[in-house]
């Protein structure tokens, strides 16, 4: 094996850092967008055809660009935001552009599952649109939202492995540079094993939390 323990730990840390940070930023973007996608649609709380159509199209555009291309395409923007286009921090920008719209769609999906009757009951008791969103829609969808966000995190772990292409580091980078390019099968297997454990752990945690918040 051509790498030592500290290199593996560093790569693991980089993966966790990229995934964690980009998840938090993506959630900040995706949550409001997901809510807007639901409440501005026809017949809903704050029906607004223009807002809905623009969001719908913009999100579809971002969702249709493969991550590896997105990463390269927004390099100028990355440079403006983090000052460089290379490294772990620089990888977070394209990850957010990738996961933000994705999370918006996942959240839209979860919120649409909430029974329309519950919203009607909320309106009938005189709840404002804000109260309906935060006291009815989100609590009722919470269990499903947690599962959806788990999917997003797993997706981000996968996408972050590609960040090696712009020198982002992480387990994916390690697997490519040592495992693939230098034919080090042990490193390859080890990184894959770590990624498998990571994804299993995240999914189990997500399932557990989803059950926990079903009743609050």
């Amino acid at each position: 094996m051509q790498v030592d323990q500290s290199q593996i730990l560093e790569a693991l840390w980089e993966t966790l850092y990229m995934t964690g940070a980009s998840f938090v930023f993506s959630l900040f973007i995706g949550l409001p967008l997901g809510i807007l996608l639901v409440v501005t649609r026809k017949g809903h709380l704050l029906e607004n055809e223009a807002v809905f159509n623009v969001l719908n199209i913009v999100i579809n555009i971002f969702r249709s660009v493969p991550f590896i291309i997105l990463m390269v395409a927004i390099i100028p923007l990355t440079r403006i935001i983090v000052g460089t286009s290379i490294g772990t921090a620089a990888a977070i920008v394209p990850l957010v552009f990738y996961a933000g719209p994705y999370i918006a769609r996942l959240i839209e999906n979860s919120l649409l599952e909430v029974d329309k009757g519950v919203i009607e009951a909320a309106q009938a008791m005189g709840a404002s649109p804000g109260q309906i969103i935060f006291r009815f829609l989100i609590p009722e969808a919470l269990s499903s939202l947690v599962l959806a966000l788990t999917i997003a995190i797993v997706g981000l772990i996968g996408a972050s492995a590609m960040a090696g292409a712009i020198g982002g580091g992480g387990l994916g980078d390690l697997a490519i540079t040592y495992g693939y390019q230098r034919f080090d099968t042990v490193v390859m297997l080890l990184t894959v094993a770590i990624l498998v454990v990571l994804v299993q752990g995240v999914q189990s945690l997500g399932n557990l939390m989803s059950r926990r918040v079903r009743r609050s």
Partner: protein, 343 residues
Amino acid sequence: MIQFEAVKKTYVSGKQQVHALNGIDLTVETGEIYGVIGFSGAGKSSLIRTVNLLERPSTGRVLIHGEDISTLSARKIRDTRKDIGMIFQHFNLLNSKTVHHNIAMPLILAKTPKAEIDRKVAELLEFVGLADQAKKYPDQLSGGQKQRIGIARALATNPSILLCDEATSALDPQTTQSILDLLRRINQEYNITILLITHEMGVIREICDKVAVLEEGRVIEQGSVFEVFSNPQHATTKRFVRSVMNDELPDSLLEQIRHNDGTRPIYRVQFTGNSVGQPFMSRVSREFQLDLNVLFGNITELQGIPYGNLIVEFDGAHAEIDRALASIRNDNIQVEEVQQHAG
């Protein structure tokens, strides 16, 4: 008081216009239990939703205590909605929250202090008979219990009006009865005006003071429950009344009527209210030398007033029968000959 004035509601779907409400004029007086009945698609659901503006009328006005709330600001509309409780066919409770939290919801929205909320929720749970279920979740309750929670939630803000949207349609007959009893208690103890929509005539007979029959977005018949049940005018109303009054003639009787040669004519005699107490049969029999043979009949009660319906065979001289009929009609009893094809 709720007043509908020429309320119309039109939905546009594609190039088609659907007229859900076609000019509704109705007045629900304070303290009344008013029932609106109709088959599905008649417009009941749209009608009840115009009261709290879940549906906005396309034209016309709905006045709540004399005020047209569609002209109010969004905030004022929300305030008015707090004075109008609503319960639903499928209860529409929050499955992620406890029974206590569900009932507390309208008070939480109104930013009521917690101690006050706890006191009110306990009182409401007591009223609907579920004091021991506060910590349970809706999916641990039966349909009837869920509707009781829905009712408690609707009453939390002390509304003056309660809207019931097919509130018993998802419940079995026995549970329906207990929910109707609860609604009657709410009406009597809190003097809350109740507007309910249903497709079950039994619900109307059981608790309503007045009824309107809705068909294709129009009120085709309205009046006190007693009037409408004892003397339905429209074919649809007759169908509804028949669904609970059981005055369908048995086949054997129909056979007998069919073979009636006219020597002993058969009449349907309907008597209501005060006329029920009269011994009209024995009087007519004596006075006009007739033999009266009751072939079929039932007597029931509507809003505490007895209502009877008899199928009677008259045997005697024709002239005497005619005189007897005139005399019976004189007593405000309805009589009509049962034709060969009648049923």
